[in-house]
């Protein structure tokens, strides 16, 4: 948002963002008697005093002529599964409703070091488990355009808040699409970096081998700024990489001419069950070609197994990662440890813990976990072969526009299957960037670019070129809302 970015005073930018943020805090507009506003429940905690103090310090630095830092004075929101020292971090779970961590996540510490101001914490599906942001102990988040719909998940609060200008950006986590899918539903840019590119230290783990810290912003340009500030090795995260970080900002304006863009989905075949995605993809292909890129179809033979593989691994790792919330250390506590666990954790969390514990148990390990790990390697191999012939892949993020609230209530499997376009890159640990690609009756549709490991600069460069060309087109994609 220009006002937030261009404000002369950090304090002015912060006050503007706070004003937009206040109505989005949980408990505003959620009960039946009040009108449910767009983006309701997007925020769980606002740190007004802390933000003002930080902004005032930045204004003092400016007045004193200290050279500016890359994110000086920009108001940033933080998904509530990332730890913020002294500021409640709930993971949207009743279990952690009062949990105030004593330390900052590395990504949060790097934000502060780059001059960003932490404004507050965004809602999510509990511990990141969900694709609609309805699985929050603090209530469902409403879509920023149509409050009868979900904003996507699990980073639904982050997407809704940024879409409504309550922050310049939100940092969040993407395990199987949790950044990309809500970004696509809310007409935003969302980056899931390469696994190991941005430190996970301080991110409450869902599935440790899949979790990535990334962000939701308005443009590839903003995303590139954050990439330069947050990417890089962290001695506190053994899975973070020492691979040197190339600047995404420096290459942004180099255009998409000559790039080979692979299409993993055949638009005609896709049209049957995902007409919206198919139309967006067809139009995007024309844009890529107009930009001088070459569009090439690419086969991904193991894509069909990705959702099953992903959900086995996710549940297995989650079952262990949730074990510390056993009712002894966190939650209501007291005499009834079982009760603390029973009420402290939501339905979707319990479902995954049960599935994961089952899949890891003696006699089933080989059939589930071990087999899933082997299929995971095959999915990753598909990408290696694909990148022999193309530079980047362009694919849908979701089948259609943001679904209505309660759409998956009776059918969790349908919710899992809705992740089919986003989980393959997660399994392969590859960077993927979601970007706006049109609207259907005013509701946004997004696509994503996936690249080889460490190719984030190229992803930003291509998305930046696409946006410039795409913005010149009418936003509506013909065909009507499904």
């Amino acid at each position: 948002m220009d006002v937030l970015r261009k404000a002369k005073s950090a304090l002015v930018a912060i006050e503007t963002a706070l004003e937009r943020a206040r109505p989005l805090v949980t408990c505003h507009g959620t009960d039946a008697t009040t009108t449910v506003i767009p983006g309701a429940n997007a925020l769980l905690t606002l740190d007004e005093d802390g933000a003002r103090r930080a902004a005032a310090a930045i204004d003092e630095r400016r007045a004193a002529g200290v050279s500016p830092r890359p994110l000086d004075g920009l108001p940033v929101l933080v998904k509530d599964n990332l730890m913020t020292a002294g500021l409640r971090s709930t993971c949207a779970s009743a279990m952690l409703a009062d949990f105030v961590p004593p330390y900052d996540a590395t990504s949060v510490a790097r934000l502060r070091a780059a001059g960003a101001v932490i404004l507050g914490k965004t809602n999510l599906d509990e511990f990141g488990m969900g694709s609609t942001n309805e699985h929050s102990a603090f209530g469902a988040v409403r879509h920023p355009i149509d409050p009868a719909r979900v904003p996507g998940g699990s980073s639904g609060g982050a997407a809704a808040a940024v879409a409504l200008g309550a922050g310049w950006a939100a940092i969040a986590s993407d395990t199987g699409g949790s950044i990309r899918q809500p970004a696509a539903y809310c007409s935003l840019v969302g980056l899931k970096p390469t696994y190991g590119r941005v430190s996970r230290f301080g991110l409450a783990a869902l599935a440790s081998s899949l979790d990535c810290v990334g962000w939701i912003v308005h443009s590839a340009q903003d995303s590139a700024l954050l990439f330069n500030a947050l990417a890089g090795y962290d001695p506190h995260d053994a899975t973070s990489s020492r691979e040197p970080v190339e600047s995404a900002v420096a290459v942004l304006a180099r255009g998409a001419g000559g790039l080979r863009i692979g299409l993993t989905e055949d638009a005609a075949a896709l049209a049957a069950d995902c007409p919206v995605a198919a139309r967006a993809l067809a139009r995007a292909s024309a844009v890529w070609e107009a930009l001088g890129a070459h569009v090439i179809p690419v086969a991904m033979p193991h894509a069909d197994a990705a959702v099953a593989t992903y959900y086995i691994l996710n549940a297995c790792e989650a079952s262990a990662n949730m074990a510390r919330y056993d009712g002894l250390r966190y939650g209501a506590g007291g005499d009834a440890v079982d009760a603390a666990r029973g009420t402290g954790l939501g339905m979707e969390v319990k479902r995954r813990v049960l599935m994961g514990a089952f899949a890891l148990s003696a006699g089933y390990y080989d059939a589930y976990y071990d087999k899933a790990m082997r299929v995971r390697a095959l999915v990753a191999e598909d990408y290696v072969h694909a990148f022999d012939g193309v530079d980047l892949l362009c694919s849908p993020v979701a089948a259609g526009v943001a679904p209505r609230l309660g759409g998956y209530a009776a059918d969790p499997l349908a919710m899992y299957l809705s992740d089919r376009f986003t989980v393959p890159a997660s399994l392969a640990g590859l960077p993927a960037l979601a970007f706006p690609a049109g609207e259907v009756e005013g509701l946004p549709v997004g696509l994503q670019l996936t690249g080889p490991r460490w190719s984030e600069p190229l992803l930003h460069r291509a998305a930046h070129a696409f946006a410039a060309a795409h913005d010149a087109l009418p936003s509506e994609i013909s065909g009507g809302r499904p």
Partner: protein
């Protein structure tokens, strides 16, 4: 005889705390059991949401040394696994351990009598927190100082058939690992913990009997007593036609060596720990240089206690001294002393530096440890300090008695030997005949009754008189000269 009809089988698990500076997966220091609870903690070892483990390379290296010393085959490409179970002292709900490919596989331990105990595996893992009584029946404390401490777990095959061999095995493992500085091995500090699995089957049977696990064995003698008791108990149950239950039994050390094991926990089934590879820690490959260096260290001239004792023998150290040194110097102090002594300019005039080190240790350090009730690992004495004292002894600046007092003081309080020596007046006074004579005269005058009794034939009183004179003089006087002066005065 029951002994012939039944064959007991024992498997042992020894947990050894590695002597690192910091914990297994974070930068917190390893804390003593007596430290204020929960002070040596951080988000990682408290298992807070979002915290991640990072492997302590020093711990891996010590574990490699330990595994090599135990003859295990090293797996150079290793990985950690999550062992999932719930217990109040397990902060993450899982323990980071090793799975189907441990750091070391197989191996064996040769006991002093030549018997060999085969090992199943040697692996690295993190310790749990500790439960503390709070004085209230309704509340129990959890001390996370120990949470995440680095452990080496050494597991035998179920191949030991007597409590005596079990005890000899545990003592040998401790001696070996302490000798190589893998651990300090102090049982009273929880740095070495032994668990025994005991079963009894009819002699000649091909299958083992039902297994009972015994916990809380405070020390080797207790472990042996508990295993002996358990073997007898199981035989009695079987002889009476009963069946042994698969369970965990405790042992209360407060009841002494004649105590009983008691039921702690009955298990219906073996636990399903749902092991899977730890996703927070990438698989690792041990540096070839480490393996080479640690192999050289273990196979080197002093690699094992047995090799070290043999080298002392060659250097001409007497049998009693060798045994005393081995019993007291588990931490390699004598080897440090040897290398420090061999760097002295006077080294060429010395008996072999190893013999000088061993003799100096036996003569001065062991009495000091005994007097203070200390273990070498608790002592503040450094090799350099002892070298200084031994050098002064050779130069005649201190008498043996003064040296003994200095070492005693250095062992308990540490400090600079020169300062300590001056404080306790240990340095010999150059020309002291008048001083000695005055002291002798004064003492004899003061204890005229003792002198009279001595003259009447109570000859032991000479020693008491000598001690009193020495006390009056301080340590700066050679006891032999004082004795001479005393005898002269007495014979007058």
């Amino acid at each position: 005889m029951t002994v012939c009809r039944w064959l007991p089988t024992i498997g042992l698990e020894i947990h050894v705390e590695l002597d690192t500076r910091t914990k297994m997966f974070c930068a917190c220091p390893r804390a003593a059991l007596t430290a204020t609870p929960n002070r040596a903690t951080c988000p990682v070892c408290l298992g807070l949401p979002g915290a991640l483990p990072v492997v302590n390379a020093e711990a891996v290296r010590l574990a490699v040394r330990g595994a090599l010393a135990l003859g295990a085959t090293i797996t150079p490409a290793g990985w950690f696994a999550r062992k999932n179970y719930f217990y109040p002292d397990l902060v993450k709900g899982y323990q980071i351990s090793q799975g189907t490919e441990p750091l070391g596989s197989g191996g064996s331990v040769v006991l002093p009598d030549g018997a060999r105990v085969p090992l199943r595996r040697v692996h690295l893992e993190e310790d749990t927190a500790r439960l503390l009584a709070t004085g209230s029946a309704e509340r129990i404390g959890v001390d996370c100082n120990r949470s995440g401490a680095p452990l080496l777990e050494v597991v035998t095959e179920p191949a030991v058939h007597s409590a005596a061999v079990a005890e000899a095995y545990a003592r040998t493992v401790r001696a070996l690992l302490v000798h190589l500085c893998v651990t300090r091995g102090r049982i009273e500090h929880g740095e070495l913990r032994v668990e025994a699995n005991v079963s009894v089957a009819p002699a000649g049977a091909t299958e083992l009997g039902v297994r009972v696990e015994i916990k809380n064995q405070a020390g080797f003698a207790h472990m042996r007593a508990a295993v002996e008791f358990e073997i007898a108990r199981q035989i009695a149950v079987l002889e009476a036609g009963g069946a042994v239950c698969q369970e965990t039994r405790g042992w209360n050390p407060a009841r002494g060596l004649s105590g009983e094991t008691f039921v702690q926990r009955t298990k219906e089934d073996a636990h399903d720990y749902r092991y899977f590879p730890e996703p927070d820690l990438p698989a690792f490959r041990l540096p070839a240089a480490w393996l080479r260096e640690e192999r050289a260290r273990v196979d080197g001239p002093d690699g094992t206690p047995a090799l070290f004792v043999a080298r002392m023998e060659q250097a001409g150290v007497r049998t009693e001294t060798r045994e005393a040194v081995f019993a007291h110097d588990a931490a390699g102090f004598v080897r440090q002393l040897e290398s420090a002594l061999s760097e002295l300019p006077s080294a060429s005039r010395m008996e072999s530096p190893l013999a000088a080190a061993a003799n100096g240790f036996a003569r001065f350090v062991i009495p000091a440890l005994n007097a203070a009730g200390q273990d070498m690992a608790d002592s503040s004495l450094t090799a350099d300090a002892l070298v200084a004292v031994l050098a002064w002894l050779t130069d005649g600046r201190v008498a043996p008695d003064g040296a003994r007092c200095m070492v005693a003081r250095l062992a308990t309080d540490g400090g600079d030997p020169e300062t300590v020596g001056r404080e306790i007046k240990a340095f010999l006074v150059a020309d002291d005949s008048t001083v000695i004579d005055t002291a002798v005269e004064a003492t004899l005058a003061e204890h005229a009754d003792w002198v009279a009794e001595w003259r009447a034939g109570k000859i032991a009183l000479r020693h008491a008189l000598l001690g009193t004179v020495m006390k009056r003089l301080g340590h700066g006087h050679d006891a032999r000269r004082v004795a001479l002066a005393l005898d002269q005065f007495l014979s007058r």
